[in-house]
Symmetry: C2
Subunit: 771 residues, 2 copies
């Protein structure tokens, strides 16, 4: 194990590399030609424009003002200066609350670290167990500060138990405060928000098929009958997936065309040719510009045809609709209640924001959803515990021999000794690394298959899965050597009270490993984040090959977003490490605190200047964050139980089990107390907002505002098709839709009213609602 | 182990005792003086009156018509004759659906038994393992028909796995059909029901305290603002627990008075005296009749005072109210939505039926509820696993020696040899038996402490706990010898894959024990149920000592009710046994089928003629029944996994794990698909019902109907206080309640609208609702 000197050297190296990253960032961000990489958020907000309009040519690209380099770290105070309310206004609540995750880390671990260093470190250090036990083994200094230094069966363990209680209560206190705060921030955000279509709109899925009516008519009838005072309008969902694909394809062809045109204009004389086959490697040789122009023409035609088809064909209407109400109250009521006696049809939920909708999944029927969920649960289980099997087989394939077989022409190259050893050393590692890089994408695809209807819920689901994967494969995998499959096997074969022991014994031994991990991944990694190397390179490539106009340059910017699905689970690993090691090896805590502090500053800067959130879920992810920190708490308690029972202090087990029960109870209490604020919309709030609006704008007509809020982005982007499309929607405008129902035979009894007698009912129903 | 002959003898004995019970029942029920014991339901319905009005004196008490004795079993076809719809009409949906539990048992086990006997019994029987293995041990014939007869590692085990799949699929199919049917019965019942106050009413709990307004005003303001179109009226809940106690006390004194007066009138001359102390054992000697008359007078005065106090004292108003709406739609909306931004105040739920309300628990605040739930969860854990500890210590106390110490005067009696041995033999058993008899009561008290607000939910909760207790202590306790605590201990110390093995190995060995258990508890026990010995004795005692008038006689009847909390968990044990043994020892199945058949007939008879349900929850218990049968399925699969892995057929484990996963998935699917029908009330249904009602009775005024529906039964019973009480309620009648709010300081921001500006708002709000 490492000594304190080793750790110090590692810390110095990592701090230095973090410093180098910051320095590089400071220099790069000051160059005007990088401006769009490091400040895209301001461009998107329209508050900053290209700084290269005037001045000398060199000035356009390089910052020659040397004074600005001296203040190279002043982005940090700048990032911290923006007050929270302005931040919410600037970047949305999601981003602001995301930063709270780092803050909560600081709030939890700073007092815990002080307490641990004041109490636990002296208690641990004043023993001589390790010196006596392992005279010939060079015992690590860090271990002297940890629980390992306390002799078996010592009464000093009670200090650790009391501290475990203190840490748990403090963590729960912070969590509760923070949950309360985030919940009220969310409600305040929803209340102070400007009018948004999703406040009035409910997503209705699984509209049951009706032999006599179209989906649109059926939706209108149903809501006119069942929400007579509140129903305003609705938009059916079209299956425009194919159309979206075509538009996407045309866009990519257009990019190539731009590229060839730019190339042509640079070296004027030469005509450019290309091959039509796969990746331009084979196939017929054609003139590149002509080919792409004709391709784009073809696609445009296809798109027009497809758009017509989507509009005309009743089969392209999916059994789902966005139903808008006259008031927020009406929408809140509809979203929270069950509509039909069959609980799998007429499913209502709050409509996500228009830009948050994941259109592809809107039409999945209920039974299929249930089956998909089962398949994905099983698939995720296998992914977590058996992912090493395909990786190992790919690694076997990726050996030198198989490479030589597959591509004999590479043989002379590979046989060079140096290259051979590089390939042999790196190839297997690269396969694993590639898998881990693509893991969030794989999990995202799995979530998409499961059928969630909004991007935010997709990201939350993927985050949960990624967290579980990390927990099993990174945390357990590092603590106990071997693959997840081995653990599963040994845990099944071990008795239930052996499992905590196995974990508990291994925890203190891995302290130094995790300290190094925190420094590499948490310090240098976070510092590298701010450099945004990938965006930087991609932007300049695009800028060189594709950009012709200012608009193109705007499209070449890739501000990225928070990517909750991959970042949040990684933060959770630090919570887990911090809580597990707080009682065991308090030396680890300062490293965690540095991580949280650094990450807070860096991400605050990124959120202010770079990231552009694709959607706004109003902090809907907070219950997940809370739940995972609680999970970390319980894991830390279980590990401590295991550790202490191997230290002949088994009489402490009931005390710690009581703590775990209290923690779980606290979680359930918080869930019941605060989670509804993230799932439901209280009627009182809705009514307050409605009343205010009616007082402020008594003549407001919501219908035009809501009519087209949820048009598929493909129709919106083009602009040309939109009006036509709306015209068609407005055909069904009149409040009294004459029913097309011919037979009563196919009508189920309870819906008879909505069908046969509809001409008279919509008049009769509202009567009762008069005050 | 028992041979088939042994089982046959036991079956004969039990059938005989069942037959004796039926015979006794047949004779007793024909006697006119028992009429009120065996047909109370008809008396309560007013369809039957005392048959003893006319005729000879003897005829009044004894049935002399010998022909009627010949048809002594014809109550069975009679019980089966009533069609289901009439049964629902007669006894309510709860009872009708309760019978479905027995029916579902028949539906599941009859085909399974046929299949098992056709396939598994021949497969098992045509082996010679047991003959070869245990030549000197007299092997049981039953074991030859069971899985024990198959040699280790035989391929024949695949038959059992295939059968496990077949049984699971069949059970799931039946469960799904039945869930669907019960759900539609429930909805139909709710739809076809007559107007009931709970359809329009929502129970609101945790009304936040307001410094300026009373609870009643606060409720009225809140709902006028937030449900302006639907709010009709409300009733606050009074804390009348003390009043109820006093009334109860007076009633008991009145009973004693009746007893003494009757006694006095029988032997006219003697004045009766009694002692005032505990149980009449010591204290002042007084004239019994005078004493009771004066006591009753005193109590009546106290009751009048207390009633005044409850009415006047604002402290007796609890922060809870029954809020009634103008339409079912309005109530459905309010019950299913969140009202306030604080999810722990203004909690709304469907009001239970007036007679189903458990008044004592209406005022428990939210945090207290959460704490109570935790305490009860921990208490139940200890009750389940550690109940043997207090029992054992009481058993130690209840030994001869301690009895002699406690009551030395009994010594000569106890020292008689016969009595001594009886006490030594029975006392410990009696202590345990007494505990088991009182267990449902203990669990009910625990549920009451937890704070449920309706009798039906109290019973459901107790049933769940009783089921778990039975599962751990009866099922596991019988399969593996030792107390639950021992099991807990050994399960914790065993590895996770040893636990199914321990259970699996023990299962086939206990087959004969369970067969005997089924015959004693399931055959003879059910037959004894119909005799209603306890009711019979109590009725005749009351009749002799207390009854003066026909009304008294009516009160002396104790029809009892289904007592879902203790009966349903006992049925579930049979499902568990049936499913566990279906693949292992199919011989057990016919015994289970006989139980279900017999119990169905007996309880159908009891429901038609005897039981009088206290409440109607419209089959709200079905999701619990369904869930427990699924639990039994999974337990049976786990046991089979364990059994097969000890039979060197471990390769079957993944196949059976897949089956368990599928079963759990099926449960989740059913839960999402059907459970909402038992928890929520679809708006479509509500609207249909409302519309129909408006068409049928356009001038209906609901207000007087709902005004007093939820008055505390103490006020209702008396009648005299009711009108006064209502008058007071009607003081707050006018729709515009002038606010009494003085300061804005104490008002939280979001509710400002409901407070300060209320004189203008209730006018302004309804505007938007005009169609």
């Amino acid at each position: 194990m490492a000594t304190i000197q080793d750790i110090g050297v590692a810390a110095a190296i990592n701090l230095l590399s973090a410093f180098v990253f910051f320095l590089a960032f400071a220099i790069l961000r000051l160059q005007p030609f990088n401006d769009r990489v490091y400040f895209p958020k301001w461009y998107l907000k329209g508050l900053r424009s290209s700084p290269s309009r005037s001045g000398a040519f060199v000035r356009k690209f390089v910052n020659l003002d040397f004074r600005s380099y001296l203040r190279f770290l002043n982005w940090m105070p700048e990032a911290l200066r923006m007050p929270e309310l302005e931040l919410i206004e600037h970047a949305g609540l999601d981003s602001a609350v995301y930063l709270h995750i780092y803050l909560i880390g600081l709030k939890i671990f700073v007092p815990i670290a002080f307490l641990a260093w004041a109490v636990l470190v002296p208690v641990n250090y004043t023993n001589k167990t390790l010196e006596l036990q392992l005279k010939n083994v060079t015992s690590s200094d860090i271990d002297k500060l940890s629980i390992s230094n306390i002799p078996l069966g010592s009464d000093r363990f009670w200090t650790h138990i009391v501290m475990a209680y203190a840490f748990t209560f403090w963590t729960c206190y912070v969590l509760r405060k923070e949950y309360e705060k985030v919940a009220s921030m969310r409600l305040q955000f929803l209340a102070s928000e400007k009018r948004r279509p999703d406040q009035f709109t409910v997503l209705v899925r699984n509209v049951p098929p009706d032999p006599d009516e179209s989906v649109s008519e059926s939706v209108e009838h149903f809501f006119l009958v069942n929400h007579p005072d509140n129903y305003l309008t609705h938009q059916v969902v079209c299956n425009a997936n194919k159309l979206a694909k075509l538009v996407e394809k045309r866009k990519s062809k257009q990019n190539w065309l731009d590229y060839y045109q730019l190339k042509h204009s640079r070296n004027n004389a030469k005509r450019l040719s290309m091959k039509t086959g796969f990746l331009g490697l084979w196939g017929e040789k054609v003139d590149a510009i002509d080919y792409h122009i004709s391709e784009i023409d073809k696609l445009s035609k296809e798109i027009a045809e497809e758009r017509e088809r989507v509009k005309k064909d009743p089969k392209s209407i999916m059994p789902a609709a966005f139903v808008s109400f006259k008031s927020r109250w009406g929408a809140a009521v509809c979203a929270q209640t069950q509509q039909s006696r069959n609980p799998t049809s007429w499913l209502t939920e709050w409509a996500p924001e228009p830009r948050d909708v994941y259109w592809q999944n809107l039409a999945i029927p209920y039974v299929s959803l249930a089956v998909r969920r089962l398949i994905m649960a099983v698939a995720f289980f296998f992914l977590t515990f058996f992912f090493m099997i395909p990786i190992a087989s790919v690694q076997a394939l990726a050996s030198i021999e198989s490479l030589e077989k597959a591509a004999p022409f590479l043989k002379p190259l590979i046989e060079i000794k140096f290259i051979k050893s590089v390939i042999q050393g790196f190839l297997p590692g690269i396969v694993l690394k590639l898998f881990l890089i693509f893991l969030p994408t794989i999990l995202m695809i799995m979530s998409k298959f499961e059928g969630f209807t909004s991007l935010s819920s997709l990201e939350r689901r993927s985050a949960t899965r990624y967290y579980l994967f990390n927990l099993v494969n990174v945390f357990l995998g590092s603590i106990i050597a071997g693959t997840a499959l081995d653990h599963l096997n040994s845990f099944i074969k071990q008795s239930a009270n052996e499992v905590p022991k196995t974990i508990g014994v291994a925890v203190p031994q891995q302290a130094t490993f995790f300290i190094t991990y925190i420094m590499v991944d948490g310090w240098a990694g976070i510092a590298a984040e701010i450099l945004m190397l990938k965006s930087l390179i991609l932007y300049h490539l695009k800028n060189f090959f594709l950009v012709k106009t200012e608009k193109d340059r705007e499209e070449a910017m890739n501000p990225g977003s928070l990517s909750f699905n991959s970042r949040e689970p990684r933060i959770q690993l630090y919570f887990l490490l911090g809580l597990v090691y707080a009682t065991v090896t308090p030396v680890l805590l300062p490293f965690i605190i540095v991580f949280f502090g650094l990450a807070y500053v860096v991400f605050r800067h990124q959120i202010i200047n770079v990231y552009n959130q694709e959607y706004e879920s109003a902090a809907a992810f907070w219950p997940h964050v809370h739940g995972r920190i609680i999970t970390a708490l319980v894991i830390s308690q279980v590990a401590l139980i295991g550790l202490l029972s191997t230290k002949s202090a088994a009489q402490s087990t009931p005390v710690l089990i009581a703590l775990a029960v209290l923690t779980i109870w606290f979680h359930r209490f918080c869930k019941a107390r605060y989670e509804p604020a993230f799932v439901r919309y209280p009627l009182q709030e809705a009514m307050t907002k409605d009343t205010l609006e009616r007082v402020m704008e008594p003549n407001l007509n919501l219908k035009p505002y809501l009519q087209n809020a949820y048009v598929h982005p493909v129709f919106k982007e083009d602009g040309d098709g939109e009006e036509e499309f709306n015209l068609r929607l407005e055909e069904n405008e009149s409040v009294l839709v004459p029913t097309k129902r011919q037979s009563r035979r196919n009508t189920p009894v309870p819906s008879r009213i909505s069908g046969a007698s509809s001409p008279s009912l919509p008049d009769a129903v509202p009567e009762h609602s008069e005050p």
